[in-house]
Amino acid sequence: MNREAFLEAVRLLLALDRELVAITFNSLRFALASTAIAAVISTPLGVLIAFREFAGKRLLVSAMHTLMGLPTVVVGLLVFSLLSRSGPLGGLGLMFSPSAVVIGQSVLALPIVLSLVYSGLSRLDPELRETLVTLGASPVQRTTKILREGRIAVASAILTAFGRVVGEVGTAMMLGGNIRWYTRTITTAIALETQKGAFALSVALGVVLLLVAFGVNFGLNYLIRFRGGTA
Protein backbone atom coordinates (compact mmCIF):
# COMPACT_ATOMS: atom_id res chain seq x y z
CA MET A 1 0.00 0.00 0.00
CA ASN A 2 2.72 2.50 0.79
CA ARG A 3 6.43 2.81 0.40
CA GLU A 4 7.23 2.94 4.10
CA ALA A 5 5.55 -0.43 4.60
CA PHE A 6 7.72 -2.03 1.93
CA LEU A 7 10.85 -0.49 3.37
CA GLU A 8 9.81 -1.71 6.80
CA ALA A 9 9.30 -5.19 5.33
CA VAL A 10 12.84 -5.17 3.96
CA ARG A 11 14.12 -4.03 7.35
CA LEU A 12 12.25 -6.88 9.09
CA LEU A 13 13.78 -9.40 6.70
CA LEU A 14 17.31 -8.08 7.00
CA ALA A 15 17.17 -7.68 10.77
CA LEU A 16 15.66 -11.15 11.17
CA ASP A 17 12.83 -9.68 13.22
CA ARG A 18 11.95 -11.88 16.20
CA GLU A 19 8.28 -12.22 15.32
CA LEU A 20 9.03 -12.86 11.65
CA VAL A 21 11.44 -15.65 12.60
CA ALA A 22 9.03 -17.14 15.14
CA ILE A 23 6.17 -17.26 12.64
CA THR A 24 8.38 -18.73 9.92
CA PHE A 25 9.65 -21.28 12.43
CA ASN A 26 6.07 -22.30 13.25
CA SER A 27 5.14 -22.71 9.60
CA LEU A 28 8.18 -24.87 8.85
CA ARG A 29 7.78 -26.87 12.04
CA PHE A 30 4.13 -27.72 11.40
CA ALA A 31 4.66 -28.51 7.73
CA LEU A 32 7.76 -30.65 8.36
CA ALA A 33 6.13 -32.60 11.17
CA SER A 34 2.97 -33.29 9.21
CA THR A 35 4.91 -34.25 6.10
CA ALA A 36 7.03 -36.60 8.23
CA ILE A 37 3.93 -38.26 9.66
CA ALA A 38 2.42 -38.59 6.20
CA ALA A 39 5.67 -40.01 4.80
CA VAL A 40 6.00 -42.62 7.54
CA ILE A 41 2.44 -43.81 7.03
CA SER A 42 2.09 -43.40 3.29
CA THR A 43 5.42 -44.64 1.93
CA PRO A 44 5.05 -48.29 3.02
CA LEU A 45 1.40 -48.23 2.01
CA GLY A 46 2.39 -46.88 -1.39
CA VAL A 47 4.91 -49.70 -1.85
CA LEU A 48 2.27 -52.23 -0.85
CA ILE A 49 -0.33 -50.92 -3.26
CA ALA A 50 2.13 -50.53 -6.12
CA PHE A 51 3.38 -54.12 -6.00
CA ARG A 52 0.29 -56.06 -5.02
CA GLU A 53 -2.73 -57.01 -7.03
CA PHE A 54 -5.99 -57.18 -5.16
CA ALA A 55 -9.70 -56.70 -5.70
CA GLY A 56 -10.74 -53.06 -5.69
CA LYS A 57 -7.23 -51.79 -6.39
CA ARG A 58 -8.39 -49.53 -9.19
CA LEU A 59 -11.10 -48.05 -7.02
CA LEU A 60 -8.59 -47.47 -4.22
CA VAL A 61 -6.13 -45.82 -6.58
CA SER A 62 -8.71 -43.44 -7.98
CA ALA A 63 -9.91 -42.67 -4.46
CA MET A 64 -6.31 -41.83 -3.54
CA HIS A 65 -5.92 -39.52 -6.49
CA THR A 66 -9.23 -37.83 -5.70
CA LEU A 67 -8.24 -37.23 -2.09
CA MET A 68 -5.14 -35.34 -3.22
CA GLY A 69 -7.47 -32.47 -3.89
CA LEU A 70 -9.02 -32.37 -0.41
CA PRO A 71 -10.11 -28.79 0.26
CA THR A 72 -8.21 -27.51 3.27
CA VAL A 73 -11.23 -25.98 4.98
CA VAL A 74 -13.11 -29.27 4.76
CA VAL A 75 -10.23 -31.03 6.47
CA GLY A 76 -10.25 -28.20 9.01
CA LEU A 77 -13.93 -28.70 9.66
CA LEU A 78 -13.57 -32.47 9.96
CA VAL A 79 -10.63 -32.36 12.36
CA PHE A 80 -12.28 -29.50 14.28
CA SER A 81 -15.36 -31.63 14.89
CA LEU A 82 -13.13 -34.46 16.14
CA LEU A 83 -10.78 -32.45 18.36
CA SER A 84 -13.16 -29.90 19.85
CA ARG A 85 -13.89 -30.46 23.53
CA SER A 86 -17.41 -31.42 22.57
CA GLY A 87 -16.15 -33.85 19.89
CA PRO A 88 -15.17 -37.51 20.30
CA LEU A 89 -11.46 -36.73 20.86
CA GLY A 90 -12.11 -33.63 22.96
CA GLY A 91 -10.59 -35.24 26.05
CA LEU A 92 -7.13 -34.89 24.51
CA GLY A 93 -7.41 -31.12 24.78
CA LEU A 94 -5.66 -30.54 21.47
CA MET A 95 -7.89 -27.87 19.95
CA PHE A 96 -6.11 -24.58 19.10
CA SER A 97 -2.66 -26.09 19.60
CA PRO A 98 0.27 -26.89 17.31
CA SER A 99 -0.73 -30.57 17.48
CA ALA A 100 -4.14 -29.77 16.05
CA VAL A 101 -2.56 -27.98 13.09
CA VAL A 102 -0.15 -30.87 12.52
CA ILE A 103 -3.00 -33.39 12.59
CA GLY A 104 -4.97 -31.38 10.03
CA GLN A 105 -1.99 -30.91 7.77
CA SER A 106 -1.09 -34.60 8.03
CA VAL A 107 -4.55 -35.46 6.75
CA LEU A 108 -3.88 -33.17 3.79
CA ALA A 109 -0.41 -34.60 3.15
CA LEU A 110 -1.27 -38.32 3.52
CA PRO A 111 -3.08 -38.85 0.20
CA ILE A 112 -0.55 -36.69 -1.64
CA VAL A 113 2.43 -38.78 -0.51
CA LEU A 114 0.47 -41.99 -0.99
CA SER A 115 -0.65 -41.16 -4.52
CA LEU A 116 2.71 -39.89 -5.69
CA VAL A 117 4.70 -42.74 -4.14
CA TYR A 118 2.31 -45.18 -5.74
CA SER A 119 2.52 -43.52 -9.18
CA GLY A 120 6.29 -43.27 -9.02
CA LEU A 121 6.81 -46.87 -7.93
CA SER A 122 4.36 -48.36 -10.38
CA ARG A 123 6.55 -46.95 -13.14
CA LEU A 124 9.41 -49.13 -11.92
CA ASP A 125 9.93 -52.41 -13.70
CA PRO A 126 7.13 -54.73 -12.55
CA GLU A 127 9.54 -57.63 -12.81
CA LEU A 128 11.72 -56.10 -10.14
CA ARG A 129 9.64 -57.51 -7.33
CA GLU A 130 9.31 -60.92 -8.94
CA THR A 131 13.05 -61.03 -9.48
CA LEU A 132 13.59 -60.15 -5.84
CA VAL A 133 11.17 -62.90 -4.79
CA THR A 134 12.94 -65.41 -7.01
CA LEU A 135 16.26 -64.40 -5.54
CA GLY A 136 14.85 -65.24 -2.15
CA ALA A 137 14.88 -61.71 -0.68
CA SER A 138 12.96 -61.25 2.56
CA PRO A 139 10.03 -58.80 2.61
CA VAL A 140 12.17 -56.22 4.37
CA GLN A 141 14.99 -56.63 1.86
CA ARG A 142 12.49 -56.40 -1.01
CA THR A 143 10.93 -53.20 0.33
CA THR A 144 14.34 -51.65 0.98
CA LYS A 145 15.47 -52.46 -2.55
CA ILE A 146 12.28 -51.12 -4.09
CA LEU A 147 12.54 -47.92 -2.08
CA ARG A 148 16.16 -47.53 -3.15
CA GLU A 149 15.13 -47.85 -6.75
CA GLY A 150 12.24 -45.47 -6.30
CA ARG A 151 13.92 -43.03 -3.94
CA ILE A 152 13.57 -40.09 -6.27
CA ALA A 153 9.85 -40.69 -6.59
CA VAL A 154 9.55 -40.86 -2.81
CA ALA A 155 11.56 -37.67 -2.41
CA SER A 156 9.38 -35.87 -4.96
CA ALA A 157 6.26 -37.06 -3.20
CA ILE A 158 7.44 -35.77 0.17
CA LEU A 159 8.55 -32.46 -1.28
CA THR A 160 5.25 -31.97 -3.09
CA ALA A 161 3.29 -32.66 0.08
CA PHE A 162 5.49 -30.26 2.03
CA GLY A 163 4.92 -27.56 -0.57
CA ARG A 164 1.19 -27.99 -0.31
CA VAL A 165 0.90 -27.89 3.49
CA VAL A 166 3.38 -25.08 4.09
CA GLY A 167 1.27 -22.80 1.92
CA GLU A 168 -2.20 -23.83 3.08
CA VAL A 169 -4.24 -21.55 5.29
CA GLY A 170 -7.56 -23.33 5.92
CA THR A 171 -6.64 -25.96 8.48
CA ALA A 172 -3.94 -23.82 10.14
CA MET A 173 -6.51 -21.10 10.75
CA MET A 174 -9.40 -23.28 11.89
CA LEU A 175 -7.39 -25.64 14.10
CA GLY A 176 -4.64 -23.34 15.32
CA GLY A 177 -6.66 -20.17 15.85
CA ASN A 178 -3.82 -17.85 14.75
CA ILE A 179 -2.53 -17.53 18.33
CA ARG A 180 0.48 -15.23 18.47
CA TRP A 181 3.82 -16.91 19.37
CA TYR A 182 2.02 -20.29 19.44
CA THR A 183 0.03 -21.32 16.40
CA ARG A 184 0.41 -18.31 14.13
CA THR A 185 1.86 -19.39 10.79
CA ILE A 186 2.99 -17.46 7.74
CA THR A 187 -0.33 -18.04 6.01
CA THR A 188 -2.65 -17.24 8.92
CA ALA A 189 -0.59 -14.17 9.75
CA ILE A 190 -0.86 -12.87 6.20
CA ALA A 191 -4.56 -13.67 5.98
CA LEU A 192 -5.55 -12.09 9.29
CA GLU A 193 -2.88 -9.60 10.28
CA THR A 194 -2.84 -7.63 7.03
CA GLN A 195 -6.26 -6.26 7.93
CA LYS A 196 -5.01 -5.28 11.35
CA GLY A 197 -2.43 -2.96 9.93
CA ALA A 198 0.57 -5.31 10.19
CA PHE A 199 1.20 -4.76 6.51
CA ALA A 200 4.99 -4.71 6.61
CA LEU A 201 5.12 -8.00 8.52
CA SER A 202 2.74 -9.57 6.00
CA VAL A 203 4.89 -8.46 3.08
CA ALA A 204 8.02 -9.82 4.74
CA LEU A 205 6.28 -13.13 5.48
CA GLY A 206 5.04 -13.24 1.89
CA VAL A 207 8.63 -12.99 0.69
CA VAL A 208 9.65 -15.84 3.00
CA LEU A 209 6.80 -18.03 1.79
CA LEU A 210 7.69 -17.31 -1.83
CA LEU A 211 11.28 -18.32 -1.16
CA VAL A 212 10.12 -21.57 0.47
CA ALA A 213 7.78 -22.31 -2.44
CA PHE A 214 10.49 -21.56 -5.00
CA GLY A 215 12.92 -23.74 -3.05
CA VAL A 216 10.46 -26.63 -3.07
CA ASN A 217 9.84 -26.33 -6.79
CA PHE A 218 13.52 -25.93 -7.55
CA GLY A 219 14.15 -29.12 -5.59
CA LEU A 220 11.38 -30.95 -7.41
CA ASN A 221 12.67 -29.84 -10.77
CA TYR A 222 16.15 -31.00 -9.83
CA LEU A 223 14.88 -34.39 -8.71
CA ILE A 224 12.91 -34.88 -11.92
CA ARG A 225 15.90 -34.02 -14.09
CA PHE A 226 18.08 -36.28 -11.96
CA ARG A 227 15.67 -39.15 -12.41
CA GLY A 228 15.56 -38.48 -16.16
CA GLY A 229 19.35 -38.46 -16.29
CA THR A 230 20.02 -41.74 -14.58
CA ALA A 231 16.96 -43.86 -15.34
Binding site: L28, R29, F30, A31, L32, A33, T35, A36, I37, A39, S84, R85, S86, G87, G90, G91, G93, M95, F96, S97, P98, S99, V102, R151, A155, I158, G177, N178, I179, R180, W181, Y182, T183, L192, Q195, K196, G197, G219, F226
Partner: protein, 279 residues
Protein backbone atom coordinates in the same frame (compact mmCIF):
# COMPACT_ATOMS: atom_id res chain seq x y z
CA UNK B 1 29.71 -35.37 -11.40
CA UNK B 2 28.07 -38.58 -10.27
CA UNK B 3 29.72 -38.19 -6.92
CA UNK B 4 28.46 -34.65 -6.50
CA UNK B 5 24.93 -35.76 -7.26
CA UNK B 6 25.22 -38.65 -4.86
CA UNK B 7 26.38 -36.33 -2.11
CA UNK B 8 23.56 -33.93 -2.86
CA UNK B 9 20.93 -36.64 -2.73
CA UNK B 10 22.35 -38.09 0.45
CA UNK B 11 22.51 -34.61 1.87
CA UNK B 12 18.88 -34.09 0.95
CA UNK B 13 17.79 -37.21 2.80
CA UNK B 14 19.85 -36.41 5.86
CA UNK B 15 18.53 -32.86 5.93
CA UNK B 16 14.96 -34.03 5.43
CA UNK B 17 15.13 -36.70 8.10
CA UNK B 18 16.89 -34.38 10.53
CA UNK B 19 14.52 -31.48 10.13
CA UNK B 20 11.50 -33.74 10.32
CA UNK B 21 12.76 -35.34 13.50
CA UNK B 22 13.34 -31.88 14.94
CA UNK B 23 9.89 -30.66 13.91
CA UNK B 24 8.12 -33.70 15.30
CA UNK B 25 10.11 -33.56 18.50
CA UNK B 26 9.30 -29.92 19.19
CA UNK B 27 5.65 -30.42 18.34
CA UNK B 28 4.24 -29.55 21.71
CA UNK B 29 5.75 -27.64 24.58
CA UNK B 30 3.68 -27.92 27.66
CA UNK B 31 6.06 -26.52 30.24
CA UNK B 32 4.13 -23.24 30.51
CA UNK B 33 0.53 -23.12 31.57
CA UNK B 34 -1.80 -21.71 28.94
CA UNK B 35 -5.13 -20.00 29.32
CA UNK B 36 -7.36 -19.77 26.25
CA UNK B 37 -9.18 -16.45 25.87
CA UNK B 38 -11.77 -16.29 23.11
CA UNK B 39 -12.52 -12.65 22.46
CA UNK B 40 -14.36 -10.28 20.24
CA UNK B 41 -12.11 -8.89 17.51
CA UNK B 42 -12.33 -5.31 18.77
CA UNK B 43 -10.28 -5.86 21.94
CA UNK B 44 -7.53 -7.50 19.89
CA UNK B 45 -7.65 -5.40 16.69
CA UNK B 46 -7.51 -2.20 18.73
CA UNK B 47 -4.33 -3.33 20.46
CA UNK B 48 -5.78 -3.17 23.98
CA UNK B 49 -4.99 -6.78 24.87
CA UNK B 50 -1.31 -6.31 24.16
CA UNK B 51 -1.27 -3.78 27.00
CA UNK B 52 -3.74 -5.45 29.29
CA UNK B 53 -2.53 -9.06 29.27
CA UNK B 54 1.27 -8.97 29.82
CA UNK B 55 1.14 -7.86 33.51
CA UNK B 56 -1.30 -10.71 34.20
CA UNK B 57 0.82 -13.22 32.31
CA UNK B 58 3.85 -12.10 34.27
CA UNK B 59 2.19 -12.24 37.67
CA UNK B 60 0.70 -15.70 37.20
CA UNK B 61 3.41 -17.18 34.99
CA UNK B 62 0.91 -18.15 32.30
CA UNK B 63 0.55 -17.51 28.61
CA UNK B 64 -2.84 -16.27 27.49
CA UNK B 65 -3.73 -17.66 24.06
CA UNK B 66 -5.92 -15.07 22.36
CA UNK B 67 -8.39 -16.30 19.78
CA UNK B 68 -9.93 -13.22 18.19
CA UNK B 69 -13.31 -13.93 16.63
CA UNK B 70 -16.74 -12.34 16.71
CA UNK B 71 -18.73 -12.43 19.95
CA UNK B 72 -21.09 -15.07 18.53
CA UNK B 73 -18.24 -17.40 17.66
CA UNK B 74 -16.43 -16.68 20.93
CA UNK B 75 -19.54 -17.79 22.81
CA UNK B 76 -19.74 -20.93 20.66
CA UNK B 77 -16.11 -21.73 21.46
CA UNK B 78 -17.04 -21.33 25.14
CA UNK B 79 -20.07 -23.59 24.74
CA UNK B 80 -17.98 -26.34 23.19
CA UNK B 81 -15.42 -25.96 26.00
CA UNK B 82 -12.52 -24.92 23.78
CA UNK B 83 -11.80 -21.73 25.74
CA UNK B 84 -11.39 -20.99 29.45
CA UNK B 85 -12.57 -17.40 29.48
CA UNK B 86 -14.44 -15.07 27.12
CA UNK B 87 -14.32 -11.32 26.49
CA UNK B 88 -17.42 -10.29 24.58
CA UNK B 89 -19.90 -7.48 23.96
CA UNK B 90 -23.45 -8.63 23.33
CA UNK B 91 -25.27 -8.41 26.71
CA UNK B 92 -28.35 -10.38 25.59
CA UNK B 93 -26.27 -13.27 24.20
CA UNK B 94 -24.03 -13.19 27.27
CA UNK B 95 -26.98 -13.43 29.63
CA UNK B 96 -28.27 -16.41 27.65
CA UNK B 97 -24.83 -18.05 27.83
CA UNK B 98 -24.70 -17.72 31.62
CA UNK B 99 -28.36 -18.76 32.05
CA UNK B 100 -27.66 -21.97 30.13
CA UNK B 101 -24.97 -22.79 32.66
CA UNK B 102 -21.95 -22.32 30.39
CA UNK B 103 -20.58 -19.28 32.15
CA UNK B 104 -19.87 -18.69 35.83
CA UNK B 105 -20.92 -15.05 35.80
CA UNK B 106 -20.91 -12.19 33.34
CA UNK B 107 -18.75 -9.40 34.70
CA UNK B 108 -19.13 -5.96 33.13
CA UNK B 109 -15.70 -4.32 32.99
CA UNK B 110 -15.48 -1.65 30.32
CA UNK B 111 -17.43 0.19 27.65
CA UNK B 112 -17.20 2.40 24.65
CA UNK B 113 -19.75 3.13 21.96
CA UNK B 114 -20.59 2.27 18.39
CA UNK B 115 -20.23 4.81 15.63
CA UNK B 116 -21.70 4.87 12.12
CA UNK B 117 -18.92 5.28 9.56
CA UNK B 118 -19.39 6.51 6.02
CA UNK B 119 -17.72 8.28 3.11
CA UNK B 120 -16.88 11.96 3.58
CA UNK B 121 -19.38 12.86 0.85
CA UNK B 122 -22.15 11.15 2.88
CA UNK B 123 -24.35 10.30 -0.15
CA UNK B 124 -27.21 9.08 2.05
CA UNK B 125 -27.28 12.23 4.15
CA UNK B 126 -26.75 10.36 7.41
CA UNK B 127 -25.28 13.41 9.12
CA UNK B 128 -28.74 15.02 9.12
CA UNK B 129 -30.30 12.15 11.05
CA UNK B 130 -31.47 13.05 14.55
CA UNK B 131 -30.87 9.65 16.11
CA UNK B 132 -29.30 6.28 15.34
CA UNK B 133 -32.44 4.69 13.90
CA UNK B 134 -32.79 7.76 11.69
CA UNK B 135 -29.23 7.24 10.48
CA UNK B 136 -29.91 3.63 9.54
CA UNK B 137 -33.23 4.66 7.96
CA UNK B 138 -31.41 7.18 5.74
CA UNK B 139 -28.94 4.52 4.54
CA UNK B 140 -31.78 2.12 3.69
CA UNK B 141 -33.76 4.88 2.01
CA UNK B 142 -30.82 5.82 -0.23
CA UNK B 143 -29.89 2.15 -0.72
CA UNK B 144 -26.33 3.27 -0.12
CA UNK B 145 -23.74 0.47 0.13
CA UNK B 146 -23.51 -0.84 3.69
CA UNK B 147 -21.03 -3.45 4.90
CA UNK B 148 -22.37 -5.73 7.62
CA UNK B 149 -20.17 -7.91 9.82
CA UNK B 150 -22.61 -10.74 9.16
CA UNK B 151 -20.85 -12.93 11.73
CA UNK B 152 -23.22 -12.86 14.72
CA UNK B 153 -20.72 -10.70 16.55
CA UNK B 154 -21.70 -8.13 19.16
CA UNK B 155 -21.48 -5.41 16.53
CA UNK B 156 -23.59 -7.44 14.12
CA UNK B 157 -26.24 -8.04 16.78
CA UNK B 158 -26.33 -4.31 17.55
CA UNK B 159 -26.52 -3.46 13.87
CA UNK B 160 -29.50 -5.78 13.33
CA UNK B 161 -31.33 -4.24 16.27
CA UNK B 162 -30.73 -0.80 14.75
CA UNK B 163 -32.18 -1.92 11.41
CA UNK B 164 -35.25 -3.19 13.29
CA UNK B 165 -35.56 0.16 15.05
CA UNK B 166 -35.37 1.83 11.63
CA UNK B 167 -38.21 -0.36 10.33
CA UNK B 168 -35.97 -2.53 8.15
CA UNK B 169 -36.33 -5.84 10.00
CA UNK B 170 -35.43 -8.05 7.01
CA UNK B 171 -32.48 -6.03 5.81
CA UNK B 172 -30.56 -9.21 4.93
CA UNK B 173 -32.64 -9.57 1.78
CA UNK B 174 -32.97 -5.86 1.07
CA UNK B 175 -30.76 -5.86 -2.00
CA UNK B 176 -27.21 -5.71 -3.26
CA UNK B 177 -26.47 -2.50 -1.31
CA UNK B 178 -26.52 -4.53 1.91
CA UNK B 179 -23.37 -6.66 2.00
CA UNK B 180 -22.72 -9.25 4.70
CA UNK B 181 -19.07 -10.22 4.70
CA UNK B 182 -18.65 -12.47 7.76
CA UNK B 183 -15.36 -10.94 8.90
CA UNK B 184 -13.84 -9.21 11.90
CA UNK B 185 -14.15 -5.50 12.68
CA UNK B 186 -10.79 -4.51 11.24
CA UNK B 187 -11.43 -6.34 8.00
CA UNK B 188 -14.89 -4.80 7.70
CA UNK B 189 -13.57 -1.25 8.19
CA UNK B 190 -10.91 -1.87 5.55
CA UNK B 191 -13.52 -3.31 3.19
CA UNK B 192 -15.98 -0.45 3.76
CA UNK B 193 -13.16 1.99 3.11
CA UNK B 194 -12.25 0.29 -0.18
CA UNK B 195 -15.89 0.32 -1.31
CA UNK B 196 -16.65 3.75 0.20
CA UNK B 197 -19.59 2.18 1.99
CA UNK B 198 -21.26 2.80 5.33
CA UNK B 199 -20.72 0.50 8.28
CA UNK B 200 -21.21 0.24 12.02
CA UNK B 201 -18.03 -0.02 14.08
CA UNK B 202 -17.04 0.08 17.72
CA UNK B 203 -15.18 3.29 18.47
CA UNK B 204 -12.07 1.49 19.69
CA UNK B 205 -11.38 -0.30 16.42
CA UNK B 206 -12.31 2.78 14.39
CA UNK B 207 -9.75 4.87 16.29
CA UNK B 208 -7.11 2.20 15.77
CA UNK B 209 -7.76 2.32 12.01
CA UNK B 210 -8.48 6.00 11.64
CA UNK B 211 -5.05 6.87 10.30
CA UNK B 212 -5.30 4.46 7.37
CA UNK B 213 -8.80 5.15 6.08
CA UNK B 214 -10.88 7.94 4.53
CA UNK B 215 -14.14 7.01 6.22
CA UNK B 216 -15.50 9.39 8.83
CA UNK B 217 -17.93 9.17 11.69
CA UNK B 218 -21.25 10.24 10.21
CA UNK B 219 -23.36 9.50 13.28
CA UNK B 220 -22.59 9.06 16.98
CA UNK B 221 -23.79 9.79 20.47
CA UNK B 222 -27.22 8.11 20.59
CA UNK B 223 -27.56 6.18 23.90
CA UNK B 224 -28.76 3.27 21.76
CA UNK B 225 -25.16 2.95 20.52
CA UNK B 226 -23.74 2.22 23.96
CA UNK B 227 -21.30 -0.74 23.84
CA UNK B 228 -20.62 -2.61 27.11
CA UNK B 229 -17.94 -5.34 27.30
CA UNK B 230 -18.20 -8.33 29.63
CA UNK B 231 -15.76 -11.02 30.72
CA UNK B 232 -16.99 -14.51 31.55
CA UNK B 233 -15.16 -17.52 32.99
CA UNK B 234 -16.43 -20.77 31.43
CA UNK B 235 -18.30 -22.84 34.03
CA UNK B 236 -16.38 -25.96 35.15
CA UNK B 237 -19.68 -27.67 35.91
CA UNK B 238 -20.25 -27.87 32.16
CA UNK B 239 -16.63 -28.37 31.19
CA UNK B 240 -14.59 -29.84 34.07
CA UNK B 241 -11.30 -29.40 32.21
CA UNK B 242 -11.41 -25.57 32.07
CA UNK B 243 -8.89 -23.70 34.18
CA UNK B 244 -11.50 -21.90 36.19
CA UNK B 245 -9.19 -20.58 38.88
CA UNK B 246 -6.89 -18.93 36.38
CA UNK B 247 -9.87 -17.71 34.39
CA UNK B 248 -11.33 -16.21 37.53
CA UNK B 249 -7.94 -14.65 38.29
CA UNK B 250 -8.07 -12.94 34.88
CA UNK B 251 -11.60 -11.71 35.60
CA UNK B 252 -10.41 -10.34 38.94
CA UNK B 253 -7.40 -8.76 37.31
CA UNK B 254 -9.26 -6.86 34.58
CA UNK B 255 -11.72 -5.57 37.17
CA UNK B 256 -8.96 -4.66 39.65
CA UNK B 257 -7.61 -1.14 39.99
CA UNK B 258 -4.42 -1.85 37.97
CA UNK B 259 -6.39 -3.60 35.20
CA UNK B 260 -8.94 -0.81 35.02
CA UNK B 261 -6.15 1.76 34.94
CA UNK B 262 -4.65 0.10 31.85
CA UNK B 263 -8.05 0.23 30.13
CA UNK B 264 -8.41 3.87 31.15
CA UNK B 265 -4.95 4.87 30.00
CA UNK B 266 -4.90 3.07 26.66
CA UNK B 267 -4.73 5.64 23.86
CA UNK B 268 -4.19 5.68 20.14
CA UNK B 269 -3.11 9.01 18.70
CA UNK B 270 -4.17 10.66 21.95
CA UNK B 271 -7.70 9.25 21.86
CA UNK B 272 -9.17 7.03 24.53
CA UNK B 273 -10.64 3.80 23.10
CA UNK B 274 -12.24 2.10 26.09
CA UNK B 275 -13.58 3.33 29.42
CA UNK B 276 -13.33 1.43 32.72
CA UNK B 277 -16.69 0.31 34.07
CA UNK B 278 -15.74 -0.71 37.59
CA UNK B 279 -16.15 2.02 40.19
Amino acid sequence: MKKVQRTMITGFWVLLAGSMAWATGTGERQEVERLVLATTTSTENSGLLEELLPPFEEEYGVVVDVIAVGTGQALEIGRSGDADVLMVHAPALEAEFVAEGYGVERVYFMYNDFVVLGPTSDPAGVRDARDASGAFGAIAEAQAPFISRGDNSGTHVKELSMWSAAGEADVAGAGPWYREVGQGMGAVITLANEQQAYTLADRGTFLAYQGDIDLEIVHQGDPELFNPYGIIAVDPQRHPHVKVELAQALVDYVTSAPGQAIVDEYRIAGEQLFFPAVE
